[in-house]
């Protein structure tokens, strides 16, 4: 259960990036997680709610997209997407391959923010 540590890093990074947008409120945080990233989505969502309390992220949505595992096969030279993580074999020619080219990502892709209300001077 390291999801709370991970989400805390997300919240810290987002708050840091908000320094450029004073007063802004966060509506959505988008993550890209590889299928090999070893994190559980439900658990992230649960921790997100706790970790965002009383921050500029409170009440925002956490949107997670999962990146499938891509391997490169030295035998046939192609890249392919693994259908399951129990067998690291080339989906084209069935040769075993450990050359993982994608699927370990753990990135904050973007945030959606609402700018501070403009103050109008009379």
């Amino acid at each position: 259960m390291h999801e709370l540590s991970i989400i805390s890093s997300v919240v810290d990074s987002v708050i840091e990036s908000l320094e450029a947008y004073p007063g802004a409120r966060v509506l959505e945080v988008r993550l890209r997680l590889g299928a090999l990233a070893a994190v559980v989505e439900d658990s992230l969502q649960f921790c997100y709610e706790i970790a965002t309390r009383e921050t500029q992220l409170e009440g925002s949505r956490l949107v997670i997209s999962i990146v499938p595992v891509t391997v490169h096969c030295a035998a046939c030279g192609k890249d392919g997407v693994l259908e399951n993580l129990q067998s690291f074999r080339c989906p084209h020619c069935d040769e075993p391959t450990g050359d993982v080219r994608g699927g370990r990502e753990m990135d904050i892709e973007a945030i959606e923010i609402e700018d501070a209300k403009e103050t109008t001077t009379p």
Binding site: S9, D107, A110
Partner: protein, 223 residues
Amino acid sequence: MTTRIVELRQGILKKNDELARELRSRFTAAGVLVLNLVSSPGTGKTAFLERTLRDLRVSGARVAALVGDLETDNDARRLAASGAPVRQINTHGICHLEAEMVSRHLADWEGVELGGLDYLFIENVGNLVCPSSYDLGERVRVALLSVTEGEDKPLKYPTLFNSADAAVITKMDIAEAVGFDRATALSNIRQIRPGIRIFETSAKTGTGMDDWLAYLAEARGAD
């Protein structure tokens, strides 16, 4: 009210990854081979490491170990019996080690200088999931599996086994008694990590230690 999308495109564990990279270049510059040992609780990491430290010391190598646990310094005391400098890292509830913990414990480790070491072992917290996300700056990640754990463990925890550079099977001395299916275990490990080096060992009898020590020397020489 205007809303907008701000692209961040940054690693969630950016801070850990940056620090791990920094550690890795320090380790390389100092000529010390750093290994990160990961397994479930009870696999026998500590017994295996104790034996490794002893055997390496006998061969004249300069070794040290950092050992992670949630609480207690029991493992550090056990390992210290090998005569090597050992330091405990207590994570107080955190289920894995992070680069910052390694860095901090190296910084004020009295009597231990990276430049004076050939090998530094980092025994991670017993856990097959969380440690796989955290780079500690190691050059070799070792996944350990004991003969009592079930041959399908690599299939259940592909993330960890896939990220390992070497696999060690422990407690081979009781393999027969517990009905360990060696062929299936080896095939499952290779299924998840084709081409990985696998060592079948017993810390008790010393089985497989020669191969393991030869691998260490080879990995260190490859710097």
